[in-house]
Symmetry: D2
Subunit: 146 residues, 4 copies
């Protein structure tokens, strides 16, 4: 199904619009209605002590991926905001690109809930390094039927 936002609009709004996120250099790899993949390109600055990719970098990508999942269904609504996000760190994320695979779990009138799995590029979801589930609040003007 076609997404309700174009890749260009999402790039401008979310990947470039938040400087703290823009520096990660994330790129959209897939953009369908309710199903989005985002690439986090590896760079040394992402590492934490122990030589693995830091949690905050993974959480940032997961958040922007959830945002894309939501906007892929409701269109360019800048003021959709995260209300909760739960992250489980499953395995050490070794140096290399990560793919954040996001999908919608539930789109309601005021809330959208989605799931993101971060997987090393080229690996299967079974090798997920981080699992995230989170909720976005949809502002009233853009409410849809639940």
């Amino acid at each position: 199904m076609t997404a309700a936002i174009t890749a260009d609009d999402f790039q401008r709004l979310a990947l470039d619009g938040v400087p703290f996120v823009r520096q990660l250099g994330c790129t959209l790899e897939r953009l369908e209605a309710g199903r989005v993949d985002v690439r986090l390109p590896y760079r040394d600055v992402l590492l934490r002590p122990g030589g693995t990719i830091s949690g905050p970098a993974m959480m940032a990508v997961a958040d922007v991926t959830l945002y894309a999942v939501v906007l892929s269904l409701i269109g360019a609504v800048p003021l959709a905001v995260t209300t909760d996000m739960t992250c489980h760190f499953l395995r050490r994320a070794r140096p290399g690109d990560l793919i954040a695979q996001g999908r919608i779990l539930k789109l309601g009138r005021t809330l959208a809930i989605g799931e993101v799995s971060l997987v090393p590029d080229g690996d299967l979801e079974a090798d997920s390094v981080c699992h995230v589930v989170g909720t976005y609040a949809i502002p009233p003007a853009h409410k849809r039927e639940g």
Copy 2:
């Protein structure tokens, strides 16, 4: 109670040791055993669409604050890693410094669980903009009695 890590050691290990976190310019405001405050200095690059501080920046500070809470009790253990983190975004975080107030909920042999509340500088905890609870895994060499 005196912390098991000095402010200098924590600054080197966590605030400076992870480039993605270092750029935030966080500073330790309080360092006691099991009780740590970290300041996130406001800069425009932290904003998201809508003019509020972005979730990923707040999650990064919360993670490093939990790390400090754990190291304040077990000392400089670089390989303590986050296993889960749950964030609830309570209010829009308007431009201005945030103070991340972290405290331990439970220090066990292999797991430490803590809580962080992000509060606008000068405000009360009742005005918390973000609430985080998370778990750190403690590597075997540094296990303590639960």
Copy 3:
């Protein structure tokens, strides 16, 4: 501050209205606007292998306590429903009554977020056996200003 629901109404609506919860025999110990304590009386049927109080029993009490916290602020709104709940089990809960101490973190127009700490009766919050944070969705007819 006076609660927006009476203890009798809450007892009828939540503690007695849900048979699966009613059997726990919970009682309201404190009911103020945004601050509620609920007692889970100890009974052997609550135990799990290892002789400690089972997680599901603690989650049930935490959920009903969050419900009470929300209704203490918005009144008797049966259709307020949980949208998320995150529980951290901190210590083994030995046989004995537990007190669920709930408080509001944020009351918005469509969402209310609260926190519950389960403490053995007579002990301090420092001995909390279970920490819960969760969100309730408030149906439109009963929305309040955030």
Copy 4:
């Protein structure tokens, strides 16, 4: 792959061993290594105000399903305990049997992380009414390589 625990042993240990859970009358529908389905048979006592299945009943089933997922990999270890559980309630659960579909996300030496989706019997996972992710701590005697 064959599970490391038999259906009979799991029934005895978890479904019957915890009276608060036993009353739910749950049955194992599928038991493979790392992949378990549990049925929650519908009964009126599970309802909450509004006529939907109560959250605590769903959380209880999710917890026991995660327990089964873990024991399907490590065998009958009664003292494996939940350390965290995050539940998102996606849709109102109308009267009828629910199937809790559990799978492992990560089996480590001291921690196991799994995911559960609760689906109305006969429906697809797309109609999930509740999504749960949680962690079990594995006691030392039963540690496995991560």
